[in-house]
Assembly symmetry: C2
Amino acid sequence: MKAIVTGGAGFLGLRLARALLEKGTLKDGQGHDQAITELLLIDVAQPAAIADPRVTRLTGDISDPSLLKSAIDEKTGAIFHLAAVVSGMAEADFDLGMRINVDATRILLERCRGIGIRPRVVFTSSVAVFGGELPEVLNDSTALNPQTSYGIEKAIGELLVADYTRKGFIDGRSLRLPTITVRPGRPNAAASSFASGIIREPLNGEDAICPVRPDARIWVASPRTAIAGLMRANELPSDALGKQRWVNVPGISVTAGEMASSLERVAGADVAKRIKWERDQRIERMVLGWPPAIDNARALDLGFPPDESFDAIVRSYIEQDLGQPVG
Amino acid sequence: MKAIVTGGAGFLGLRLARALLEKGTLKDGQGHDQAITELLLIDVAQPAAIADPRVTRLTGDISDPSLLKSAIDEKTGAIFHLAAVVSGMAEADFDLGMRINVDATRILLERCRGIGIRPRVVFTSSVAVFGGELPEVLNDSTALNPQTSYGIEKAIGELLVADYTRKGFIDGRSLRLPTITVRPGRPNAAASSFASGIIREPLNGEDAICPVRPDARIWVASPRTAIAGLMRANELPSDALGKQRWVNVPGISVTAGEMASSLERVAGADVAKRIKWERDQRIERMVLGWPPAIDNARALDLGFPPDESFDAIVRSYIEQDLGQPVG
């Protein structure tokens, strides 16, 4: 079976690819375990080389219908659709966000419909689909009311995935990912970029700016939890989701101040004091519009693993990503 | 100011046009009252002639960008976007539903953005945006979970209207209309068509089939309430809606059996017995997936007028549409 990861050059896409290759099998749209004979990574950037004969790569604009037409064929049993324009960029460039986050998703779903074998599709959505007046703890019946273009576009993607599934064109499921932290690498254009930066940069000996106030509460998960959630989303029997084709991936609720305290506990006060608190209203407005906490009950019932604590997330980043022992 | 009604040859579109011409003014996107100097009716069918020099007509496919480009110009201050493929047809022809209910809406919004004068846009959505596991009485924070292509498409339209408003491209508001009854004329391809047919046909001396069981509960409003809601939606100050750009237009909750009883009370047992009860699973599944009742509180606060009772709806249809006295 051919499996596809869009956004396959991104941080999560590459980690997912490695996890899929290690696992070796995936469920197809009929719920059968199939050996992965080809893993195609698609991205606008050139995906990093992975030394595995099953890996193929395709570089190009995912909103170009001919690209997905050549990529998705009758052998394609499982797709992870991660490619997206991030929140800050979708807000700054409305047309780009609509083109990649909405149009490309629809083109992908149409192509799946066209090949007629009903592949299993995991779509990465986001907690940015929530917004407006929010309860303190959201749950699966909280109304979507996104207040960013990114959130609107992800909500439209979820609706399309749900209807293409109901019509029998695909077997789809949407995962609302919390803010993922700690991401390795450099800051990006996501409004939530600081949630990784304030941990990553100080550990690297650099100052980091926290653009939100210390009591700003956000909903986060580790990369490991995100990858485990993506894998679990492929495994889940279709009936387990019923008419709710989305899952709020388990997260933990922390304030920016608590994140700094975790860093101090795990890595020491000298490291934590490299966080500089300089509020940026544009970022704060977007971030504070997202949900502070979501009830994890349904996701846990469905077998999605949670993080233990933010201290554990910081510790795991230091040990796994930086390869350093934690004292 | 130029005002536009899409779906202007339809039953609601024509009634709305007459009401707008009588009122003579509308709010533009800046909230100013403007005299209607031109009222353009757009439809795929030829709109009926209205003897008023302000009325212009445009016949064509609303998903053709050149049509809306020629229609929407710098003089356009208010738009009522009613054109849609109805529920039964959108379910039967997925591509047609997406093209008219999603693509044409987006083309319309893009054209509004393009002219740069931020017109006031009223978008007709539907209670079909709700579905799945529903509470007995829904409210404004009930999650959208449409289980029909029509509902998905209207939900996408609402999201687009909300984001185009937030970005300042339009001043938009979406109205979720209940099932409208009693519609004059003939049955259409809407799954809810029977809700008018079981009143209209018996009053016309014809048998009518009710395809849902007598205890099937639906959420209905009269044409008068729908038109009053559309007019109110144009009048509402933008701030009154805040971050919730939709309004659930007031409805009343009745079962099919109660509708038959109303008909019997108002028009007599001989008329009511022309309703034949023959269940149609396809229609029943769609109709029972829609909300049985919605809390009207916010809509009433916002000045949307409700119907008094289903008896009053039947009485008004006989008096106003059929021009007959009720005994």
